[in-house]
Symmetry: C2
Subunit: 188 residues, 2 copies
């Protein structure tokens, strides 16, 4: 569970503008903002789910949360609309050079990915190998194939090289993942 990290992302959205220093989450948020600006797609990060246990009402129309905890998300982090299609994905970074550990994706999320895939949503993972500086889009189909066939606890980098799409770094947007979505849905 990397919630302390998730929190850091939440509270300091843009720490470092140098490309290498920006987290994947920030780059995706920036890209989604850009897609909205140019009226291309409406994809948002969902707020982090929390469980509120204490509140204060210092005045009639003010509420302060005094105690709360992060909870495990049951769905993926991002969803939205592109070209009339439902888009859904999870984004993760790993420092490993050799594989992506599957315990980064909760069982609920795997079930969610499966459900969305079965109901004709466009669903995928964006995985960044930070040390290699390589970012991949892995479709739900290829992801589910892997976990159905293998008993391994991680997906080796070679599986990404052979089955996923490498996303090149850009300026605007930083992560042009919709280019790959276009290819997946048979667009231009």
């Amino acid at each position: 569970m990397n919630y302390p990290n998730g929190l850091k992302k939440l509270t300091s959205h843009k720490i470092n503008y140098k490309n290498r220093g920006m987290t994947l989450e920030c780059e995706i948020n920036d890209s989604n903002e850009y897609y909205r600006e140019i009226d291309k797609a409406y994809i948002y990060k969902k707020p982090t789910p929390i469980k509120i246990t204490k509140v204060d009402y210092p005045s009639r129309d003010k509420t302060i949360i005094k105690e709360a905890f992060f909870t495990i998300p049951s769905t993926t982090d991002y969803n939205g609309l592109y070209k009339g299609k439902y888009i859904d994905f999870e984004a993760k970074e790993t420092k490993s050079k050799t594989s992506f550990a599957l315990n980064n994706i909760h069982p609920h999320q795997i079930k969610h990915i499966e459900n969305i895939y079965n109901h004709q949503g466009i669903v995928f993972l964006i995985i960044r190998f930070t040390t290699l500086n390589e970012t991949y889009l892995l479709t739900a189909e290829k992801f589910l194939n892997f976990i159905n066939i293998n008993k391994r606890k991680s997906i080796p980098i070679n599986y990404f090289k052979e089955n996923a799409y490498l996303i090149k770094d850009g300026y605007k947007p930083r992560i042009d993942y919709l280019k790959i979505v276009d290819y997946l849905i048979g667009g231009i």
Copy 2:
């Protein structure tokens, strides 16, 4: 801003099982859960957005939020996937017998509804007149038409009677709004 109310909904999901006593939000959450159980649709309420201002780390892998505030949502409360289509809506209750006050929908949300409508998403409002015990589905088209043509600060009940779809109370699901979505998308 009805955040104290929003919070109440968050922390006590099912207060009262008698139909009249259940909030619209609870009934929609129950209906969405039912739709998921029968593998019909995957529609979720987004977590309430908050701004975290203080945290504690009592141990290495534990994070406690010590101070946070509710923030204004920039999108609608619910979205998801049904029959391969992107579904998006906002749900609101009013005690008024005569009209729905438009200040219940934030300007950002109106812009969001417009964007989703323009990009072929299925987007609507579910409005309950609690005193009348009537719940309506108002499509984005009819909603945007109203606010574009009128300078009024509220939508009169007659506009709902003439332009929206009445959703009957049920048992499973309590609020079968997908029946109306079926009609809208030309299904059975």
